[in-house]
């Protein structure tokens, strides 16, 4: 009878020894090669290989990228201006792309000053690229507290009164670039204005002014507006540029349907960016003249050329100075903090308004200076934060556009 006390089958010890040899590195090394070592790792990876899954951050960024390059039809956030001086706005829209690079969209904006705008329109190409682009839009806006300080340069900020301006409009435009550096633009619009008592902290306009001091007070003109622009524009982009220039003239005809408030205006504008040391700094200059052509025409106060806003005299409230003619000059010293995203600027604005064209000289200009930060992309300036100091004090500018 076999003894059950044996520890193992007689072979077992040798099997164990052989196994030990097999798994022991020393023995293994005698047969192992660099290639087999690598092969083993590849075999291990093969066992767990799986298709790539983008993480949450990558998914979000990929969606952003798609939306930026070729946004899909659907809802989108919208930031813009209801009316100059309306303050910070929030909005949303819905768009639908149709045909080839054509879009129709409906969008609405609401500002912290209770300004409202809703607009429906179509444009092709959707992003205004291309040699030709055309658009048609219809909308309604309500600016509840448009400031009016009286006419001329001798007004003070305490003269402010507010008016409410409602506008219904239907506008068509055509833009054509004969070459990359030339622009021709035309626009025809039906503009139906209604003016009413203003809201806000300032008194309503009719309590301070009358039709002689505020032409067109409570008028409700309906215009056929036609305007055309011819320009040389060799900036890389209008929304952000460190070099190049813009030299353009615009003729605007406002034909009142009942002929009371018809007038014509000419605007001329020069912009020049002078880069220094490979765009380490940029000197930027702007000059603009706006002039109503016929001295006998009556121009409603809210359509007169004005100075004072985030892109004119920046230390002054929107529409701080109004009259039939306006002159604006601006100089900026910009330093490029980051070429991709951030410029800083020190600026000086000076200008005047006048009731007579011959008074549009460089004497007694209102001026301000300031400093600003511009967060920009290659072609746009989505955030511009500036603080400016003029005779009315300090003024903060928050804008979603380039200064010029």
């Amino acid at each position: 009878m076999r003894d059950r006390r044996k520890c193992l089958h007689p072979w077992a010890g040798f099997v164990l020894f052989a196994t030990a040899l097999a798994v022991n590195p020393l023995t293994a090394l005698a047969q192992e090669t660099r290639e087999s070592e690598i092969a083993k790792k590849q075999e291990e990876k093969a066992a767990q290989a799986a298709p790539y899954q983008p993480n949450r951050y990558e998914q979000i960024m990929n969606n952003v990228e798609e939306s930026f390059v070729s946004p899909p039809s659907g809802f989108f956030p919208y930031f813009g201006s209801v009316y100059s001086g309306g303050g910070f706005t929030l909005g949303a829209g819905y768009r639908h792309f149709y045909a080839r690079e054509a879009v129709w969209e409906i969008k609405g904006l609401y500002s912290i000053k209770n300004y409202k705008n809703i607009e429906v329109g179509t444009r092709t190409p959707w992003n205004r690229s291309g040699r030709w682009n055309t658009g048609l839009r219809a909308g309604w806006r309500d600016a509840t507290q448009v400031g009016f300080y009286g006419l001329g340069m001798d007004t003070v900020s305490d003269d402010r009164a507010n008016a409410r301006i409602k506008q219904t409009y239907v506008t068509g435009d055509v833009r054509f670039k004969p070459s990359w550096w030339t622009r021709l633009e035309g626009e025809v619009s039906y503009d139906d204005f209604r003016t009413e008592e203003g809201q806000g902290r300032a008194p309503s306009i009719e309590t301070v002014y009358d039709p002689t001091t505020a032409p067109g007070l409570f008028s409700s003109p309906k215009y056929i507006r036609s305007e055309g622009t011819a320009a040389i524009d060799w900036r890389p982009a209008a929304g952000y540029a460190r070099r190049g220039g813009y030299y353009g003239a615009t003729f605007v005809d406002h034909t009142d349907t009942d002929e009371t408030y018809s007038f014509q205006r000419v605007d001329a504008e020069l912009i020049q960016h002078l880069p220094i040391l490979r765009e380490n700094w940029v000197l930027s200059f702007r000059g603009r003249v706006q002039s109503v052509l016929d001295d006998d025409d009556t121009v409603p106060y809210f359509l007169m050329p004005f100075l004072g806003s985030g892109s004119t005299l920046r230390a002054y409230s929107t529409g701080r100075f109004r009259d039939r003619h306006a002159l604006l000059t601006t100089a900026e010293f910009r330093w490029i903090v980051n070429r991709l995203a951030l410029d800083m600027a020190i600026f000086y604005d000076a200008g005047k308004v006048a009731s007579r064209r011959r008074d549009l000289d460089f004497e007694n200009l209102k001026s301000n200076w300031g400093i600003g930060a511009r967060f920009h992309g290659p072609t746009t300036t989505p955030i511009r934060l500036e603080i400016a100091k003029g005779t009315d004090g300090w003024h903060l500018v928050i804008s979603s556009n380039a200064a010029f």
């Binding site: 690598i38 790792k41 290989a49 990228e65 959707w126 330093w335």
Partner: protein, 568 residues
Amino acid sequence: MQMFSTTFRSRTFLCVVATAAALVFVNIAPQAQSRPKFYSDDPLTREPETQDASKVQDWDIGLIADLTLNLFSKPGDPTPGVRAQNINTIDEVPDSSWFTNRIYSRPVTIDEITRGPNVSDGPAPGKWTVIRPKTAGTAPGFTVRDEKGNVWFISMDARDYPIAATAAIAVATRLFWALGYNQIETHLTTVRPENVVVGEGVTIDSHGRRRRFTSQDVKEVFARANRSADGSYRVIAQRGLEGKVVGGFKYYGTRPDDPNDIIPHEHRRELRALQVFGGWTNLVDIKAGNTLDTVVAEKGRSVVRHYLQDVGSTFGTGSLNPRQGEEGYEYLYEGDRSAARFFTMSFWIQPWQTIDYDEHPEVGLFSAAAYEPEEWKPRVPVAALTRIQPDDELWAALRVMAFTDEHIRAAVKTGGFTDPAAEKLLADVLIARRNKIGLTYFAKVNPLTRFAFDGSALTFENPAVRSGLFDPPKGGYTATWARFDNNTGEAQPIGAATTGTSERLQPPAGIPTGSGTYLKVSIAAVEPASPAWAKPVEVYFRNAGNGWQLVGVERVPAGPAPFSVKPK
């Protein structure tokens, strides 16, 4: 069998002895013995790819995600100072699906440089049929099929910016091919719009849906391109790749569905070396989006082949216009530099800002004046480039320095410049930048290379001296010799150090002669002006029976051994 049919006592004894021996062997032997330093198949000349990669799927690496991740984080292995992981034991990169040793490893002729990756004469004359719109990159272009049925990626110079972009692609493709990267067959040719038609069923992604790609789209592509005076358009035609295109590769991590891709890309030497090659050529747009992977059949197995697909944003030009001044010198965003400019109103001037360029419209902004190889930067920090180590830099520098002036001028000639002055300018700058690379990296580590030992003399090369950029070391060369135990790693000195002034040193007496023995030689150069040369290169030879074989070269031996780091 007889012995196992003995008594219980003897069986028990045998059992105990065998078990004890096994346990002792298992438990003690590993502590006394580590893996040998060199395997029998070292040094590898080809990186093994043993698994089938046919299941690798196409992936899309988003531009913004890739850019921001690299710009604002540091993806990849956080361990500092990791040696390249795909090198062999003689400090070289084996051939692989990523890289093929060409210049420096073997003579490359002028004809080869001129031909680069090309194996055909380019697109067949006749109609080109558009089969796909161009979806990557900003240069105008599309994908066509020629009358022979071959597929070509077409890209053109941007409007009002002729020659430069297409020339850069043509030249850079030759240079990067010679450096060893997989490059796409690339031809410079012309096309007339009337010879381009849109194929059936071609569609384009447009605002979240697919729509037909039409002749109007083709017109718009041509409208963005530069038209020559004769109405034709100069184009770069790059041949469609064989195999299945499965997207690009990242410069960190590994591709999760490729079983052969086991080395984190940030630890691949040929990718790290783009810090040097990219600097030489000013290839600033290094990103996943400019790479391409294809699944191809190789030796009866599917493997992934990796391409540097777009090396066109190079030298002094981008695809649409001349290079911005800061490109090559600063990342798109650097917080400290932005802060310095913010507070100093940009009066904090950097050397690159005052370069007096010899500007030429066919070259753009490209200069050697302010180029400092170690300071060069692509647009965003690239994980692999930021991990480069001194031995990687030397490896790369050896290849750049292997380009003769004639090589460079031959490559530049393929750019089809219309002005000889542009051709000369580009070649001159490349030559000057090449020399800066030699001056920088040959001084940074002991550069001795091409070691051989025939039993009677050790020979090597000092590439720094051979380049003419450095004088021979004043104190000559010194070598210490040792018998090396491949299993224990122990080295037993042999005799006294030997010295000499030439690239040939005599061994001391007592060199082992037996087959399978190993010899370790530590070689330094004594040159006060190049103190890094004093750190010896450790070189290992194995007596293969029929002579001594070089099996090991270590310049920077610290850190984990090759093929040992796993992806994080």
